[in-house]
Amino acid sequence: MTQATSPDRLIYMANQIGTFFRSQGADKAVPGITEHIRKFWDPRMRKAITAHLDAGGEGLDPPVREAIAALKG
């Protein structure tokens, strides 16, 4: 992880956020992750992670995938 090449770092960060919100209860996970990323990530980071999801989203945990998909909406 010490290699900070995008999108590896973004995937790692998104999964970290996912881990926290997953622990807050199943119903809160996806909206929690979406809101957090929308609130704190700059547009180029959001664009990069969305593009990564569009390209298959390898490495993203299930609720994180869902949350990133919801980002587009």
Binding site: T2, I17, T19, S23, K39, W41, D42, P43
Partner: protein, 969 residues
């Protein structure tokens, strides 16, 4: 202008609500019960002569100068130790009292040098003042007898030695070992004020009176030098000394000051108030101000003495530019520098887009200076790429406390500690990091409050003079959440929750979810002990003590925030405080000990990329439109990049220009090699600082900065207290820092017109509801206020969430422990954690340029004897410290303060390169770096690593300044 004069009331203020009325010299005076007669007299304006009394310490009653007569009582009691009572009739002056006092003074003066004209205290000597006050005209005893004054003494009659050739055994030479003050025993009157200040105010107990009677001497430790003793050089003794016995070397060198201004220290987040005592524009000394509500007249070695950096020869006073970072710097005019920088930044935006530039605001600069930088970025750059060093320290505090309570700040004032019964310190080392608060805390602990310390190291506060923690939980770095959740487990499962509080103030259903979560057996101290390394019995006892011991106050530091789960830990702390009902009154609360002088303020001022001033999200249309109307510009509604994101974007090629105000990101941010790569990739880096710091090695523009002594403004400390910074000298670089930003902004085509920082504060107040009532005029009138300061709280808010939480109901949140991915293994079996030391500050840019280096000339690696022996490392040996990110070398210190498996170092010196080692793991919510956990290996080494040598060479090359060519005609 004149000296700011502070009244010495002789004894401390009594806090009783019961009042008593007595008559002093025919006047009726009413004071709180417990007030001394001396103080009562002073309150009505009558100064009873005194020497051993001063209002920073308790009455002692030794000098016998403050005697009074009380009608109906025998004798002449000391007014400092006699409490005022209803109906007393006191006389402070008559023939009898005058005769006694004169006799006492005569004895003092008979053993005191009479070099008043050339004495450093001339003009500020209480002994001289008292000799005058009691009408001493003659010393009948002469000066030939036994004394402490003369190195050689005349023999007594009958001896046949020649005069002046006998050694005087009572005489002691001056101790000049401390870099900032001297101890001249020949001038000592043994009033014990210094000893009592060291005990009562500072709490170090470094001084004592050795010997008895005529042999009595002030002694640091066991007759050691000041520097060799436990003395921490806080200056309390110097301030307490009524004579020239303890004197600042700067006063000896320059002379007595003639005017002064009250200002705020620019070191840590305690925010001590000082009088800057001046001669003209020369600073003579900094003296802590008794009306300062954060420090109450106390100080530490940094604020009191370590201001020499302001005149250090390495300070840069001229703007400089260069095309390439391999070129030497060219000194230019301000306008040339502004235009050069503006052209570069506009060029970058033209080439790479509007979002390709950004800035970092300084947590050392004033609120006003921070405000104009973030305004420049949002309104002038047209994006929200603004961040501040809080990113790397307390950003999780902002996230955690705003999620649970609704505000991004501590809940109390520092005075609150005086009413705490149980203090829990988590991941903070206040005696080193926040020394003046630590002194106030230790005073409360000596008076009986209990202490719990949660820290991997056995920090000084765990056991020091007259202070001992009831419980020290030496957890493994990275397991904070597991430990705090286990404490919650004990509190919930043992029925120790303050249910009435939770039902009234918090969301009950969220509490129930949380209680069910923490009650799970897997969160018990016994189950988590294997991961955390904490003895379950100790943890249970600590949790019980916190929940049942009365007012429970939590103080925490970067050991909480600088982790992958930093924000979760802050949430866990907030949960504990709510569950035990420890919020919303004096003596309790959640108190982040913030690092830099104005890190609270820089956060308040909208330094985060997603938030406008006052912590309001940039996407909120209503708030953004207010700013747009005031600033007459359309703002970008998208959050910008945070510091680590800026580095990543720079390496990727989408972020090419950075304006850094007063911050050394290269030294202070993790994974130095990545920061170097990011800075090298940028097309224009502007550093605005006092010195060519490490970041400046990669900069193209250097704007010289001004010190806190050279500008007007405000700082906001860790208790949300907004305090004035007052200009006492002209900026040596020509401009105050806010003027530098305005100049750069104008060159960029975004002109801001302010003629004084007070106008900037007026704009802040107009745009920020929590600052609505703040103005320079108010601060000049009342000294300081704690935000929120508005119509509802015109004089500010010492304690928050009194009748309910700012967000409405307090929010309990689940805190699942997730082990960091930075793990030990066969290659990296030890955990490195980092911290700081009393005499140095942050990256050391200021303190390394003062005499404070005598206490800490290099960063050392602390390791347990067991780990050291296994690796063949001895105390003082060079060793190689290696992590997955990089390696460096530094010298070892073998100590049992760290547990086996844990090593520790500070990061005050650039050559140490501690951040070459730290990784880029960061807090899940805020990207606050995980400085506190790095898996490392250690092996013996011969000296500095290749990287350190290359780095030094690069730094040397980069700091070259071209010699100006002859002026062309």
């Amino acid at each position: 202008m004149s000296l700011v004069h502070e009244i010495d009331y002789g004894t401390p203020r009594a806090k009783s609500a019961t009042m008593v009325t007595l008559t002093i010299d025919g006047h009726s005076v009413t004071v709180p019960e417990g007030t001394s007669i001396m103080r009562a007299a002073m309150e009505m304006g009558t100064q009873i002569p005194k020497l051993c009394a001063t209002d920073m310490v308790d009455a002692f009653g030794s000098c016998r100068l403050c005697l009074v007569e009380i009608e109906g009582r025998a004798g002449t009691p000391a007014s400092c130790t006699t409490p005022a009572m209803n109906g007393l009739v006191v006389h402070t002056q008559n023939q009898r009292l005058q005769t006694i006092r004169k006799g006492v003074m005569e004895l003092y003066i008979s053993d005191h040098p009479l070099d008043c004209l050339t004495c450093a205290a001339n003009g500020d000597c209480e002994l001289q003042d008292m000799a005058g006050a009691v009408g001493l005209r003659d010393v009948r005893y002469g000066y030939e007898g036994e004394n402490h004054v003369f190195a050689k003494t005349k023999p007594s009659p009958g001896h046949d030695h020649s005069p002046h050739d006998c050694e005087n055994d009572h005489w002691m030479a001056k101790d000049e070992s401390n870099p900032y003050f001297t101890y001249d025993p020949s001038k000592c009157i043994v009033c014990s004020r210094c000893v009592r200040a060291c005990e009562e105010v500072q709490g170090t107990f470094a001084l004592t009176i050795s010997g008895r009677g005529f042999e009595s001497r002030v002694s640091p430790g066991m007759s050691e030098s000041f520097l060799g003793s436990e003395c921490v050089s806080c200056g309390a003794c110097v301030q307490a000394c009524p004579t020239a016995t303890l004197t600042e070397k700067s006063v000896i060198a320059i002379g007595q000051p003639e005017h002064s201004a009250v200002t705020t220290c620019a070191y840590c987040g305690v925010g001590c108030t000082f009088k800057a005592e001046m001669r003209g524009e020369e600073l003579v000394r900094m003296v802590p101000y008794k009306d300062g509500k954060a420090n109450r007249g106390h100080s530490c070695v940094k604020g009191r003495f370590a201001w020499g950096y302001a005149n250090h020869k390495e300070r840069i006073l001229n703007p400089m530019i260069r095309e390439r970072i391999t070129d030497p710097w060219q000194e230019v005019s301000w306008d040339e520098a502004f235009n050069f920088a503006a052209t570069k930044f506009r060029g970058i935006q033209a080439k790479h887009g509007r979002d390709a530039i950004g800035g970092i605001t300084s947590s050392r600069c004033t609120n006003e200076e921070v405000f104009v930088v973030q305004k420049l970025i949002r309104a002038g750059f047209g994006n929200n790429n603004v961040d501040t060093c809080a990113r790397v320290c307390h950003s999780p505090t902002g996230y955690g406390l705003s999620s649970t309570f609704g505000t991004s700040a501590g809940t109390q004032d520092f005075d609150s500690v005086e009413q705490a019964d149980v203090v829990m310190i988590i991941g903070a080392n206040p005696t080193d990091g926040h020394p003046v608060f630590a002194s106030r805390l230790k005073k409360r602990l000596r008076a009986g409050a209990k202490l719990i310390v949660v820290d991997p190291r056995r920090t000084d506060i765990v056991r020091s003079a007259h202070v001992e923690a009831q419980h020290h939980l030496p957890l493994l770095p990275g397991t904070n959440v597991a430990v705090l959740t286990a404490m919650a487990h004990v509190i919930v499962t043992e029925g120790l929750v303050d249910e009435a509080f939770v039902r009234e103030r918090c969301d009950w259903s969220e509490f129930e979810d949380w209680a069910a979560f923490v009650a799970q057996p897997k969160h018990s101290p016994e189950a988590t002990g294997i991961m955390t390394g904490v003895d379950p019995k100790e943890l249970r006892a600590a949790a019980r003590l916190f929940a049942t011991g009365g007012n429970g106050a939590i103080y925490y530091g970067l050991g909480v925030t600088e982790h992958s789960q930093g924000s979760t830990t802050v949430i866990a702390i907030a949960n504990l405080a709510m569950a035990t009902g420890n919020i919303g009154r004096p003596g309790v609360g959640v108190n982040p000990l913030r690092g830099q002088n104005n890190v609270q303020g820089s956060c308040d001022m909208g330094s985060f990329p997603h938030e406008l001033p006052g912590y309001r999200h940039i996407a909120g249309d209503a708030v953004r439109e207010q700013f747009e109307a005031m600033w007459n510009v359309k703002l970008n509604a998208e959050p910008g990049l945070r510091i680590p994101n800026m580095f990543d974007a720079a390496v990727e090629g989408t972020f090419m220009g950075l304006y850094v105000q007063g911050e050394d990101i290269l030294q202070s941010d993790p994974n130095t090699k990545h920061v170097v790569a990011a800075l090298s990739a940028m097309e224009c880096v502007i550093v605005h600082d006092l010195f060519l710091n490490e970041t400046a090695n990669y900069a193209h523009v250097f704007f010289p900065g001004s010190t806190f002594l050279e500008k007007n403004g405000t700082f906001t400390n860790a208790e949300r207290r907004i305090q004035r910074v007052r200009k006492v000298m002209s900026p040596k670089n020509g401009l105050e820092d806010w003027e530098v930003t305005l100049g750069f902004a104008k060159a960029l085509g975004y002109e801001m017109t302010y003629s004084h920082p007070s106008e900037i504060m007026d704009e802040i107040a107009a745009l920020t509801p929590t600052f609505a009532g703040v103005s320079f005029a108010l601060l000049d009138e009342v000294g300081s206020v704690q935000w929120p300061c508005n119509e509802k709280a015109p004089l500010g808010t010492p304690v928050m969430h009194i009748d309910g939480f700012v967000r409405g109901k307090g929010k309990f949140m689940i805190t699942e422990y997730v082990a960091t991915d930075e793990r030990t293994g066969p290659r990296f079996p030890l955990l490195l954690t980092t911290g700081r030391i009393l005499s140095q500050y942050n990256v050391g840019a200021q303190t390394r340029r003062t005499e404070n280096i005598v206490w800490h000339e290099e960063d050392r690696l602390e390791m347990h004897p067991h780990d050291a022996e296994m690796r063949g490392v001895r105390d003082g040996d060079w060793c190689r410290l290696q992590s997955r990110a990089g390696e460096t070398t530094l010298r070892a210190r073998i100590t049992e303060r760290v547990a086996p498996g844990v090593v520790y170092t500070t990061f005050h010196h650039p050559t140490t390169q501690a951040n070459v080692i730290t990784t880029e793991f960061s807090d899940w919510a805020t990207n606050c770096p995980e400085y506190k956990v790095t898996a490392v290996q250690i092996s013996p080494s011969n000296g500095p690593s290749e990287w350190q040598r290359d780095y030094d060479e690069q730094a040397r090359q980069s700091r070259r300044i071209a010699i100006p060519a002859e002026a062309a005609e």
